[in-house]
C-alpha cells in the first residue's frame, strides 16, 4: 500500500509540475496566480498521500498550512491588483 501511495504522489507531482511549467511560460499575471493556486491544491494532495504512505501524521499539518497560505496568497494578489486598478482610474479621472 505504501509504495502505491508514493507512486500516486509522484504521479500527481508530475502533473502539477507540468501544469506549473505551462502556466509560468504564459505572459499574463493572472496565469501566474493560477500557478500558485495549482501548487496549493496539488501540493495538499501530494502531502496527504506522503503522510499516509510514510505514516507520518505531522505532514498533514504541513498540508493544512499550505492550503491556508495558498488562500492568503490569492487574496493578497487580488487586493494588490484592485489597488493598482483604483490608482489608475483616479489618475485618469483626475487628469
Amino acid at each position: 500500500m505504501a509504495s502505491f501511495l508514493v507512486g500516486a504522489a509522484g504521479f500527481v507531482l508530475t502533473m502539477v509540475a507540468l501544469g506549473l511549467v505551462v502556466i509560468l511560460r504564459r505572459p499574463a499575471e493572472v496565469d501566474h496566480m493560477m500557478a500558485a493556486q495549482l501548487l496549493g491544491t496539488g501540493g495538499v494532495a501530494i502531502l496527504l498521500l506522503l503522510a499516509a504512505a510514510t505514516e507520518t501524521p505531522p505532514i498533514v499539518d504541513v498540508a493544512l498550512l499550505l492550503a491556508l497560505f495558498a488562500a492568503f496568497a490569492a487574496v493578497a494578489f487580488v487586493r494588490s491588483a484592485s489597488d493598482q486598478e483604483s490608482k489608475v482610474s483616479k489618475a485618469t479621472s483626475g487628469g
Binding site: V22, P27, L38, A71
Partner: protein, 97 residues
C-alpha cells in the same frame, strides 16, 4: 475487510490522480484564462476530494479522518472564493495583462 478497504483506497486514489491528469490537460488545451481557471479549480478540487476519500480508510482513528475531511473542506471553500476573486480580476484587467 482489510483487503476491501485497500481496494477502495487504490481505486479512489487512482480516480483522484486521473482528475489531476485531466486538470493538467485542460490547462494545456483550453484557449483563455477563464476556461483555464475553470479547469484548474474545479477538476483539481475534485481530484483532491477523491484522494482524501481514498485516504480515509488508511487514517488511524476518527480524529485524523475528520482532520483530512476538514482540510478538504478548507481547500474547497478557499478554492471557490479565490476562483471568484481571480475571475473578477481577469474581467477588470483583461486577459492579456
Amino acid at each position: 475487510m482489510n483487503l476491501g478497504l485497500d481496494i477502495f483506497t487504490v481505486s479512489a486514489v487512482s480516480a483522484g490522480a486521473f482528475f489531476f491528469l485531466a486538470g493538467t490537460v485542460g490547462l494545456l488545451r483550453f484557449p483563455d484564462s477563464l476556461t483555464r481557471l475553470h479547469a484548474l479549480t474545479k477538476v483539481d478540487n475534485l481530484g483532491l476530494g477523491l484522494v482524501v476519500l481514498g485516504l480515509l480508510p488508511q487514517a488511524n482513528g476518527l480524529f485524523s479522518a475528520l482532520k483530512l475531511v476538514s482540510i478538504w473542506l478548507l481547500v474547497q471553500l478557499s478554492g471557490a472564493i479565490v476562483t471568484q476573486l481571480i475571475a473578477v480580476a481577469v474581467r477588470q484587467r483583461g486577459p492579456h495583462r
